[in-house]
Amino acid sequence: MTVISSVTTYYFLLVIAGSLLMSHIEEDIAYEDIQLGDLSIYLLQPFSYLLAKMFGEFPWRVIQGFFGAIILIFSMIFFGSLISLNITWQSLFFGLITAFLAFILSFYFKVVIGLSAFWLIEFSGFSQFVGVLILIFAGYIMPIDLYPNLIKTIAFATPFPYMIYFPVVVFQGKLTLFESLKTILIQLIWILVFMIVYKTLFNKGVKKFTGLGN
């Protein structure tokens, strides 16, 4: 597997990773629930808001992942010679786990971003700024291990590579067993962090929300 074919394969896998794993729930939360007040409906219902949002988001990811898969298959027909994928049981197994955790992580992260609409009057500017951060640090531009060292270090300190870059790279079989386990651990830690941030922000935000009489 040459470097060029591994990088091109990365970009092809990025098509499906981006559509399947990156959640966009923050738009729904910020615009529909908070700004338009639909949150009140959720607050009256006897189940967790987070669970309701998760069930709403999951079909979106499935269908977008489906479209991503179609595009990937098309690309493989035309550009098959450029793609080289070494699938082993290890890369498949760990790939699926990291992908699943990446979806959970991106979901929790985007929910927290969406909750910022409780306090920010103009949400879209902040959301676009976060969007640019994700584009740079999640590995959409190019594989993060090709970044200059300083940017690489900064990127790996953020949760973003664990949403897109690491699932793709684990799937390509480029990480050792130890590195794959380390990735999964870090993903779990970030998920825990955002779960705690979510709980805090949600409780504070709902107090403010209901206080306004929405």
Binding site: E122, G125, V132, I136, I141, Y147, P148
Partner: protein, 262 residues
């Protein structure tokens, strides 16, 4: 002609008043447009961090290309993008009747009605990048190459306008395609890369992509004194053909427009 200039002056001032009324959006949009300008520079910096020459372009030249693309896209977003976004909305809600009954050309009105002044900051980011690179890397330009660059930048802008117009006229038939502008934004971002990148692609795809790939690279090559005459002539041919086609297509499409209400 003077009539249309007078109308355009009114459009400019109405949009300015709107801007001043909705101040919260103002800061927001400035942040967005600068963020995208800076993002395109950063992504090009990262992509060229390990190479010195790319398809015959040196690294400062490629960054110059990115800066020029920011300028072109910034001008396009300032004067035209919002109109194309609203176009599908207008057609979907049947509000095109209001436009059609006015004593002004419909294509003119729907593509110039809204101006997004905050995208001017994206133009500034681009100009700053170009200026910085020209000075710090002593890239040679002449007065005439600058004039040529500006001329072909305007031609490129017209080509881009006509491409968007051709695609978005389809919403008269397929009114539910309200996210077509999102696709066009992505499509327009191809212009960031030098046209040589697309030479690898052969056949119909290349011909299809040709107009959009050369609209920035040809003017920039002219600016830095490596003009590709073939590309420049192609641009002139394309602008003539596309302007004619998009106009005809729009007038043709209007015959199929069915309004939504009484």
């Amino acid at each position: 002609m003077k009539y249309y200039l007078k109308i355009y002056r009114q459009i400019l001032s109405i949009n300015l008043s709107n801007l001043l009324i909705h101040r919260a959006n103002f800061i927001n949009n400035i942040v967005s447009s600068m963020a995208w300008g800076i993002f395109s520079i950063i992504s090009m910096l990262l992509l060229t961090s390990k190479t010195t020459v790319l398809y015959g372009w040196s690294r400062p030249e490629i960054l110059l290309l990115t800066g020029a693309q920011s300028v072109l896209v910034g001008i396009f977003h300032t004067f035209f993008s919002r109109n194309f976004e609203k176009l599908s909305e207008i057609i979907n809600r049947g509000q095109l009747d209001v436009v059609l009954t006015k004593p002004v050309d419909s294509q003119f009105l729907i593509t110039t009605r809204y101006i997004n002044y905050t995208s001017i900051f994206r133009i500034f980011v681009g100009i700053f990048v170009i200026y910085y690179l020209l000075i710090n890397y002593s890239i040679p330009i002449t007065f005439f190459s600058l004039i040529g660059f500006l001329f072909f930048l305007i031609i490129g802008l017209l080509i881009l306008y006509n491409i968007w117009m051709l695609v978005l006229t389809i919403t008269i038939w397929l009114t539910k395609l309200s996210n077509l502008p999102d696709f066009m934004y992505s499509f327009t971002s191809i212009t960031r890369y030098p046209s040589e990148v697309f030479r690898e692609v052969t056949g119909y795809v290349f011909i299809f992509l040709l107009p959009i790939t050369i609209i920035i690279t040809a003017p920039v090559k002219l600016l830095i004194l490596h003009p590709n005459i073939v590309e420049l002539i192609t641009m002139l041919i394309i602008v003539a053909v596309f302007t004619f086609l998009s106009r005809r297509f729009w007038l043709f499409a209007l015959k199929f427009y069915t309004s939504a209400g009484g």
